[in-house]
């Protein structure tokens, strides 16, 4: 009898938990947050700041899962293939996901695999030189490169990265300015190479350039507008170079989430991104925050996908 009663109790308990969770508002349990880079890296730091404010607006916390490897491709795949229940989300980087799909046989497609929650960071590319470099403006660098073909060494992080895309764009627009490009594994190596004089100039992200800003001079920012971090630095467009290039970070869930859950998540992210304290924390840690809602971001991705496809096709870098 006791056995039977206890069984009934268990069944009742189990059923009520399930029904309860079905009725309660999403989220009812902690959410897995997949980070496709190592703990302590720039993507992780940003997500950790975000988490602080997520806890303020949402009832359940995040559980961080690190899936680093192969430039993020491993973690991004993990997000794309996760269960579509809203309990796994993750950070994506653009143009990484686009290039990996176009050139590296990634098992996801940026247009079909993800529902985008929000863009949180827009980190523009800069053209930077050492403080003691003879180049004071972008024009001086261009003039020098034109009369000294292949002599100007430009450092890029890559290959198949935002830096690489910007370089392809440069080659397209200035075919007679031949540069010698050197790929580095990461921004650390790239910064060190510029400081040590191995390269003359570099295309680097603002966030990375800021680490050694005392030693660098930024000639121009490849963005539509000037940036708060370097208010005195003109954009490339202002200097007559029509180039815009950046790395963006967004959060996404696997495509196919129930519409109301997606709406809930998007709303929470919007609240976080507009929180002044969040913005202050982002600024303090050198992260160029820029919010864009999920729907607009999906459109942005589609446009970028086409542009990158064309650029890679011209450079013969599309996957065969």
């Amino acid at each position: 009898m006791v056995k039977f009663l206890s069984k009934v109790c268990i069944i009742v308990a189990v059923v009520t938990t399930f029904v309860g969770s079905a009725l309660a508002e999403y989220p009812t349990k902690p959410i897995n947050m997949v980070i496709a880079f190592s703990a302590g890296g720039s993507s992780d730091v940003q997500a950790r700041i975000m988490q602080k404010y997520w806890n303020k607006y949402a009832p359940k916390p995040w559980v961080f899962i690190y899936k680093p490897g192969a430039g993020g491709i491993i973690g991004f795949t993990e997000i794309a293939k996760a269960r579509k229940d809203g309990y796994t989300m993750g950070g994506l980087n653009v143009p990484h996901i686009i290039l990996q799909n176009l050139a590296q046989n990634a098992q996801f497609n940026p247009s079909d695999s993800f529902d985008y929650i929000a863009q949180v960071v827009n980190d523009p590319q800069c053209i930077a030189v050492r403080k003691d470099s003879p180049f004071k403006t972008v024009q001086e660098f261009l003039d020098h490169a034109k009369v000294n073909p292949s002599k100007v060494k430009v450092g890029l992080v890559g290959p198949l990265s935002g830096h690489h895309l910007m370089y392809l764009d440069f080659k397209e627009k200035y075919p007679e300015h031949r540069l010698t490009h050197v790929f580095y594994k990461g921004a650390t190596d790239q910064n060190a190479a510029l400081l040590g004089g191995e390269i003359d100039i570099m295309f680097g992200n603002l966030n990375d350039v800021m680490r050694s800003i005392d030693e660098f001079r930024v000639l121009g920012i490849a963005a539509e507008e000037k940036n708060d971090f370097l208010p005195g630095t003109p954009t490339l467009k202002e200097q007559g170079v029509d180039m815009v290039s950046d790395i963006r970070r967004c959060f996404a869930v696997p495509k196919g989430l129930p519409a109301e859950d997606l709406a809930t998540i998007r709303k929470i992210f919007k609240e976080i991104c507009e929180d002044p304290e969040y913005l202050a924390d982002m600024r303090k840690s050198g992260q160029p925050a820029e919010y864009m809602d999920g729907e607009s971001f999906a459109k942005y991705i589609d446009a970028q996908q086409q542009a990158s496809h064309d650029a890679l096709q011209k450079a013969n870098l599309l996957k065969k």
């Binding site: 190592s38 703990a39 720039s42 490897g69 491993i74 060494k153 680490r211 050198g286």
Partner: protein
Amino acid sequence: MNEFILPAILNLFEPMNFFLMIAGLVGGIIVGALPGLTATMGVALMVPITFAMNPISGLIMLGAIYVGAIYGGANSAILICTPGTPSSVATTFDGWPMCQNGKADDALHVSLISSAFGGIIGTFFLLFFAAALARFALRFGGPENFWLCLFGLSTIAVMSVDNMGKGIISGAIGILVATIGLDPNTGSIRFTFGTYSLIQGISVIPCMIGLFSFSQVLYLIGSKREYIAKCSTSSGSFMYVTKYLFTKCKVLLMRSSIIGTIVGMLPGAGGEIASIITYNEAKRWDKNPERYGKGCIEGVAASESANNAVIGGALIPMLTLGIPGSAVAAVILGALMAHGIQPGFKIFTASGELAYTFIMSQFLVCLLMLPVGYILCKFMARLLNLQLTYIALSIVVLSYIGAYAIANSIIDVWIVVIFGFVGYFGGRIGMDTGAMALGVILGPMIEENLGKCVDLANAHNYGIYGVMTEGVISKILIFALMLSIVTPLYVGITRGRRNAKKGARHA
């Protein structure tokens, strides 16, 4: 600088900071001793916690974890032949034989004292020569790092004098394994045979856990022994080792620590190369190089002093230029910047109190490591009293957990198993697992730097040849490399002659 030193020292003796140092050390040593949990991971996991502290305390704690973890790696290297962090691969070469000879406590004490010594020397350079050394470190570009890695690889020749052929083949297999995954220079996919999970490549740590520790388990199970080794903890061991190190190994400790500091400063090279190079140098300059690899104190002392000296070195370009000299330094840099502290030469004036408190805390942490480590050593050595069955089981469990924890990836567990068998059967036919690990560690760095040289050649009048041989540092490294390859050949030939003579006399 002087106006900051006194407040810095006072900061250290605040009870909270003092507590954080000890807690960081203990935590670090445990993280370091567990294979798979690396110093980088230990520090990275604690970064979010520092956001709630004031920046000085946060930095002190991260620094203590870093020091503890790098030292802690030696414990498992000695006791179960598993480098707890990649920096202690070279510690297994002599630490494990010492353990098998029943001198586990000596080996543990050697690693403790050498680590503390190396750490202090590294911090000394950080305190007094940071500015000058940072500029020097920047002169190591693609070609210099390429030659440095080749120089590290030449250790294979020194390691396996008796059997250079198999040593070279083992190293080559290691390098081949390291090419699996994405090509660093073109981004194309290599040797994955269509397996999507292999795209991330064979990670160094699971591979090492397999080669060293899983293969050891297989060996131990086959050995029918009841215990790993006889463990007789003699009470005079610590004093004996201290005396030995500071009379017979003064020069060796100093040389290893300086090499460690210099390698640590280089952005592309960290503790794993430093300890291998110093081991190589220790053996080269020794009067009786035959002792190495059979359990000599000098081998452990060289590797362990170097990998802790790397810390001070790695912090030099991180603080002065914002360029971390190691993966852990990169994580600490992230924490610094999250607190709104801008690295640069100005850090010593603008945030002088913070910078000098951090540096002084490194001294104190190294000193505190002696008592803390001494107590932990006592416990660690007891592990050997456990029956082999239990130890073998726990190594297997720890290996799996450690491998999985690196990237939360099940493929890494398979890598452990596969390389365990490679290590075991390879060892039986005389292959050298140490050489193979060297190949796996150094292969990607060699390839990456070679790629940079090839890129740079487009801008050079004499092409790749010009790039590779232009710099003074490159020339010195090429010379050292030649020397490193020729010496063991020469030693081998003369020894062969001597033996031949002896043989002739006997006949």
